[in-house]
């Protein structure tokens, strides 16, 4: 079992092609696979569809792939932090499919779990449900949503062992788990690859079976909105 690659470019070698669907982890700029996104920019593949909760900011995260015009479509729940995104969206250059955040997460989880679709009460009676099948269970209406199976998943974790077992840190876990699960191939970037046996098996957040390739690297980990309180209030 050899999952470790030298760098992001090597880890993506042979996996990228035009017009593919990529699921990406992260919430805002927290826990995004920043090294793999940079490598995708360098690869120059285009026509990409991203299933990702957000679209980054102008010069970081998926934003760099919007600037380089490599993205055709976003499947997201909230995209408000990116001026270039808004420009392309309003000009009709970029297709956007809005998904309720929980529906997007569950679509990824389901797709990775062999579940083709599921009924949810989220969005019933709203434009999100238009054109979708609905069904009444126990007097309540639910809408059918499809699982997402991505050609590739790119995720970011805190630590991994060489078998791909992943541990995340604090709220940087977010969409990384469901995104990893739904990829036909999943590439993970981590801050540290630790020796086999040094992660507590009871505290693995994502088992290595979901992770096919791994890299270790230095992360910028940019903060989107620094908010603090005064010390004397503490």
């Amino acid at each position: 079992m050899q999952k470790i690659y030298d760098d992001a470019d090597a880890a993506l070698d042979g996996l990228l092609r035009d017009d593919m669907l990529i699921a990406a982890g992260g919430f805002g700029l927290c826990g995004i696979p920043e090294l793999l996104l940079s490598a995708i920019e360098r690869s120059k593949v285009k026509g990409l569809t991203f299933a990702s909760n957000n679209a980054g900011v102008d010069d970081f995260g998926i934003g760099i792939l919007l600037a380089s015009r490599q993205v055709k479509k976003m499947m997201s729940s909230y995209v408000g932090e990116n001026a270039e995104f808004m420009r392309q969206f309003l000009e009709g250059e970029l297709e956007v499919e809005f998904n309720p955040q929980g529906t997007l997460a569950e679509r990824m989880r389901a797709g990775g779990a062999g579940i083709a679709g599921f009924y949810t009460k989220t969005g019933v009676g709203t434009q999100i449900a238009e054109g979708k099948e609905t069904k009444v269970f126990d007097d309540e209406t639910y809408v059918l949503e499809r699982g997402i199976e991505a050609d590739l998943a790119i995720v970011k974790a805190w630590k991994a062992d060489d078998t791909g077992n992943l541990v995340f840190r604090k709220t940087a876990r977010n969409f990384n788990v469901p995104a990893a699960m739904c990829g036909k191939t999943c590439v993970a970037e981590v801050e540290e690859i630790v020796p086999r046996g040094s992660l507590d098996p009871d505290c693995i957040h994502l088992p290595g079976v979901f992770v096919h390739r791994l890299i270790q690297g230095d992360h910028e980990k940019r903060i989107e909105k620094v908010t603090t309180r005064k010390k004397e209030e503490a």
Binding site: L29, V79, I223
Partner: protein, 208 residues
């Protein structure tokens, strides 16, 4: 005198029952956290955290620790972290007792519109549709009228909906209204505001 933002948040905090798990939206709802007092309330952040603490002191910001508004925050000794699918399992699954959210429009049948204005910049619904569909009680905190002096509490919403029949209680600068059979019921007025004033400021049907 009508309530100001802080007073609306203070009033909304009374809705929180001791020992429950709660999700607060962005804007005035965020201020509600300042008025929890001695109640044992666990705040949920839908990006994957239960037990949200205050903002960090300067120099202690952690890029791996943010709330759903992408602000840096801190953890508490009760905190747990989880992935987004698990986060919305507890939201959709009715484990969260109450969500306090802002709104653009609320209708007399409890319909809610708070995510998009056609023709304007659409940023997305985030977790709002899941929250209103799943949590046990939805409390809306908003100004009674828009900046043109028009009622935001309507017979029917004009904007695209976030959820249908989902709102339980509305707290505005003028008072508190409940969604009941047949319309809205005034349950409280702000100091020196009369029920008559609320009726005049409200397009929706008031049944008491």
């Amino acid at each position: 005198m009508p309530w100001d933002r802080e007073q609306m948040a203070e009033r909304a905090a009374q809705e929180l029952e001791d020992g429950t798990y709660v999700n607060l939206g962005i804007g005035i709802p965020t201020l509600v956290a300042n008025y929890i007092g001695d109640k044992d309330i666990t705040l949920q952040s839908e990006n994957g955290m239960l037990g949200m603490g205050p903002f960090p002191v300067e120099g202690e910001e952690d890029p791996d620790l943010i709330n759903a508004g992408k602000q840096t925050i801190t953890e508490l000794n009760r905190t747990s972290y989880f992935d987004s699918a698990t986060s919305f399992a507890m939201i959709r699954g009715g484990k969260i007792a109450c969500a306090i959210l802002g709104a653009m429009e609320v209708a007399e049948n409890g319909d809610l519109a708070n995510w998009m204005i056609p023709g304007k910049l659409v940023k997305g619904m985030g977790g709002a549709m899941d929250l209103v569909a799943g949590v046990q009680k939805v409390v809306i905190v908003m100004d009674h009228q828009n900046k043109h002096g028009e009622s935001k509490i309507l017979h029917e919403c004009t904007l695209p909906l976030t959820g249908t029949g989902v709102v339980d209680r509305i707290i505005t600068n003028l008072g508190v209204l409940d969604v009941v059979e047949g319309g809205l019921k005034i349950v409280e007025t702000a100091p020196d505001v009369t029920e008559e004033q609320i009726r005049e400021a409200t397009e929706a049907k008031i049944v008491n």
